[in-house]
């Protein structure tokens, strides 16, 4: 145990004395967690610019346009004369949607005939489409309901009866956990978890590559005085204590980040944090261990300082889409879902989101928790084998300092 603690200390020194490792394992966490969320901070897309083509020019059509402009999701910015002109505005990206009120609109309503208006929304940007369609549908629905209820009331019924006749089984939708359906609350917490995993994989990979470039170097001894020369990687039983020591340091560092994420960062951005501290810690433990052991196992594959970053950087985007929060897993082929379980963030993101934003208990994430413990176990064995192998390679015939401690 004492030996392991010395190795933890040596690992800390290794990280803090290497500007490259320091940037990835310490700087990157703060940099990314403050920079990444900025585009999403307004949370909800409001006041999407829209165009109105009013071919009716009656009090009723003007009322509809006023109501559309008053809707929080829409803002009437253009009033082109024709639909063709309006289409040009959408193609140029000046507006996200068009409302066309055809001539004869008010007359149709007064005659008790069905009146139609046209809504054209730019579906090449999904959120724009959703806000424009929702905004116009709600506006038209409100106008329509008002007309309908007045008509039914005119036939001698009370307002309540009129409402019931109009829509006998209305549907009320209550969005749980993220009631404003905010975009930042949806995407940023997941990315924060991913930042923990990716900085560990790349940071430890960088150190692995560095060690491979310099099989022997003057390392700080466990005692801390850099006078004596010990091989960077000892073998045998010491491989185990070295692995435990190194992991201990990363676990301590990243536990601190995890606390920071779920207290300070969550509060700063106003995300709900509904978890119980014990459940959250019990879940974070196998997640961090799985990431650390995977990183240590992978790090033995890298032969240069930069390689880990160059090879692993692109995995962030696919990891996001395989974690099941941005894209429903029902639509992902089952073989790919099985493979994606090998990445800690797949279960980690799901579990952390349920615990924190949804207020679930550990029992609700039992599957994810067990997967993470399994990964932690498997990657531990791989990391141990990697540590032993690199130790054996180091203490080869060219070794100026044979043997270990």
């Amino acid at each position: 145990m004492r030996v392991a603690l010395r190795h933890a200390r040596a690992e800390a020194l290794r990280v803090f004395r290497d500007p490259g490792a320091l940037l990835v394992l310490v700087g990157a966490f703060f940099l990314y967690s403050s920079f990444y969320p900025i585009p999403y901070l307004p949370q909800v897309l409001r006041e999407v610019p829209v165009a109105v083509v009013d071919q009716d020019r009656t009090p009723l059509s003007r009322q509809l346009v006023r109501m559309a402009d008053a809707h929080s999701l829409l803002k009437v910015t253009e009033r082109p004369a024709s639909l063709g002109e309006a289409e040009g505005l959408i193609l140029a990206g000046h507006v996200g949607g068009i409302l066309v009120v055809p001539s004869g609109f008010e007359r149709d309503v007064q005659l008790g005939q069905k009146a139609r208006v046209g809504v054209f929304a730019d579906a090449s940007y999904f959120l724009v489409y959703r806000q424009v369609a929702t905004g116009f549908l709600e506006t038209v629905g409100t106008l329509s309901a008002g007309i309908d209820i007045r008509r039914i009331e005119a036939s001698g019924r009370t307002e309540a009866a009129a409402r019931a006749l109009r829509d006998p089984v209305p549907l009320l939708v209550r969005p749980l956990f993220n009631p404003t359906e905010g975009y930042a609350s949806y995407v940023v917490p997941a990315v924060l978890v991913l930042i923990l995993q990716q900085t560990l994989l790349i940071g430890i990979g960088l150190l692995g590559g560095t060690a491979a470039e310099t099989p022997f170097r003057v390392a700080p001894t466990p005692a801390g005085d850099s006078e004596s020369v010990v091989p960077a990687r000892p073998r045998g039983k010491t491989a185990l204590s070295r692995l435990l020591g190194r992991s201990l340091f990363y676990l301590a560092l990243y536990s601190a980040y995890a606390v920071l994420v779920f207290t300070v960062v969550y509060r700063l951005y106003g995300f709900p944090e509904r978890s119980r501290a014990l459940d959250l810690s019990l879940f974070a433990l196998p997640f961090l261990l799985a990431c650390i052991f995977l990183a240590l196992a992978l790090s033995s594959l890298f032969t240069r300082r930069e390689t880990a970053m160059q090879v692993l950087l692109f995995t962030s985007l696919p990891s996001v889409f395989l974690a099941g929060f941005a894209w429903p897993l029902e639509a992902v082929p089952s073989w790919l879902r099985a493979v994606s379980l090998l990445v800690p963030s797949t279960s980690g993101i799901t579990g952390f989101l349920r615990l924190t934003e949804m207020g679930a208990g550990l029992r609700h994430v039992r599957f994810e928790w067990l997967v993470l413990w399994t990964l932690a176990g498997a990657y531990f064995v791989m990391a141990w084998l990697a540590e032993r192998r690199s130790a054996a390679r180091d203490v080869g015939p060219a070794s100026p300092v044979p043997g270990a401690e």
């Binding site: 897309l45 990206g93 069905k114 046209g118 090449s124 007309i147 549907l171 639509a331």
Partner: protein
């Protein structure tokens, strides 16, 4: 330049990392994104129905919900508490509460709301589920209303107008099937590709400095920095254009994304996009003269970039700083060009600004890098840094 080109081809062929960055990993990334999204829109998302009414009407509504394309009634818990457990455990995306007395109130002519609780933490499934639940309840409502009006002696035409005095016909422009897949897939691959272009450019120049071979490289080019760069970067330009071409084949061939605009503009844009990120990669290495640090900077430029492009959360809703930073990324301009010229079929004049922006990166960024590059390629003090 031919000599530099030959030298570079030899480097690529004899090293392990370069083929990975130029072909293997981009191809893997393309295959991965295709595998994730190829199945198309999700069908049969699980929801729970809590039926407290046990009536003919409530059973009918549950059946209608189950029959919608996107939603499947997978569980029938007895009470809301049990349904909440199912949401928390991630087994359903929503639950619908059919209240006690639903049929009785409807028969009495009272409106009895049905409440759907959706997991809004998962925005995409939540909105798909909401749409189908709304269509199920409004179909049920409309049927009841029609029967009632007919019973009151009103006939077809007038009761239909009654049913909805003003109707909005919604047209989804450019993507009438509201295909989320083609929308996200169009953007995702270029977002992955630009990571590799940037990293490869940083690596190819940076490793000459790191390994102390910069002088030899410049000598091969007869001492000319532009010639040295051109010969060095050309093979990766060609490799990335080939990968991008394959991606477009998947996009327009397999995924069925429409090409309503100009394919020529798209190809020109793709070339400028690759060149722009190669130029930025060279600039980063030139300024830092350190492969490791330059790679970190490239990572910082590339990994949050997708959030800043306005594909997921539109540019018009972003804070001013995010709009500004997004405009400094060639990826933003390229993705706009891609959407305009593939799905939208916008006139070429609309894409002029995107092309000009990309062109500006291609011409201005190398000018910024040149003086510094000329110095560090000749001065041994800048070599060997890690």
């Amino acid at each position: 330049m031919k000599a530099v080109l030959r030298r570079e081809m030899r480097r690529i062929a004899t090293r392990r990392l370069e083929p990975l960055l130029l072909a293997v990993l981009p191809a893997l990334a393309l295959a991965l994104t295709w595998a994730i999204f190829s199945a198309g829109l999700p069908r049969d998302l699980p929801v729970a129905v809590v039926d407290r009414d046990h009536s003919r009407l409530s059973r009918q509504l549950a059946r209608m919900i189950d029959a919608t394309p996107t939603v499947r009634v997978s569980e029938r818990p007895a009470d809301p508490k049990a349904a909440e457990e199912l949401i928390l455990a991630g087994r359903v995306y929503a639950y619908v509460l059919l209240p006690e007395g639903l049929e009785r109130s409807v028969k009495r002519g009272q409106a009895e709301p049905v409440v759907a609780y959706t997991n809004a933490q998962l925005l995409v499934p939540a909105s798909l589920v909401r749409r189908d639940l709304l269509s199920a309840t409004s179909t049920l409502s409309a049927g009841i209303k029609r029967r009632r009006l007919r019973a009151a002696g009103e006939t077809g035409a007038s009761s239909r107008a009654r049913f909805e005095p003003v109707r909005a016909d919604i047209h989804a422009l450019f993507n009438p099937q509201l295909n989320y897949v083609s929308y996200i897939f169009v953007a995702l691959f270029p977002a992955l590709l630009h990571i590799f272009v940037l990293l490869a450019a940083v690596n190819s120049v940076g490793s000459e400095l790191r390994e102390g071979t910069a002088g030899e490289w410049l000598e091969t080019a007869g001492g000319s920095v532009p010639r040295a760069l051109a010969g060095k970067l050309l093979p990766s330009t060609v490799a990335f254009l080939a990968v991008a071409g394959a991606a477009m084949g998947v996009l327009f061939g397999l995924a069925g994304v429409p090409t309503r605009g100009s394919l020529a503009l798209l190809l020109l844009g793709t070339l400028l996009f690759v060149l722009a990120y190669q130029a930025i990669g060279v600039l980063i290495v030139a300024l830092s003269a350190n492969l490791r640090f330059a790679t970190s900077v490239a990572a910082f430029l590339a990994s949050p970039a997708f959030a800043y492009t306005g594909i997921t959360f539109p540019t018009m809703g972003m804070p001013a700083f995010a709009r500004f930073w997004g405009a400094l990324l060639p990826l933003t301009h390229y993705l706009k060009l891609l959407v305009d010229q593939s799905m939208k079929g916008a006139p070429g004049s609309v894409s002029a600004s995107s092309l000009l922006a990309l062109l500006a990166f291609v011409f201005v960024v190398p000018l910024l890098a040149w003086p510094r590059l000329r110095r560090i390629l000749r001065d041994e003090r800048f070599w060997g840094r890690r």
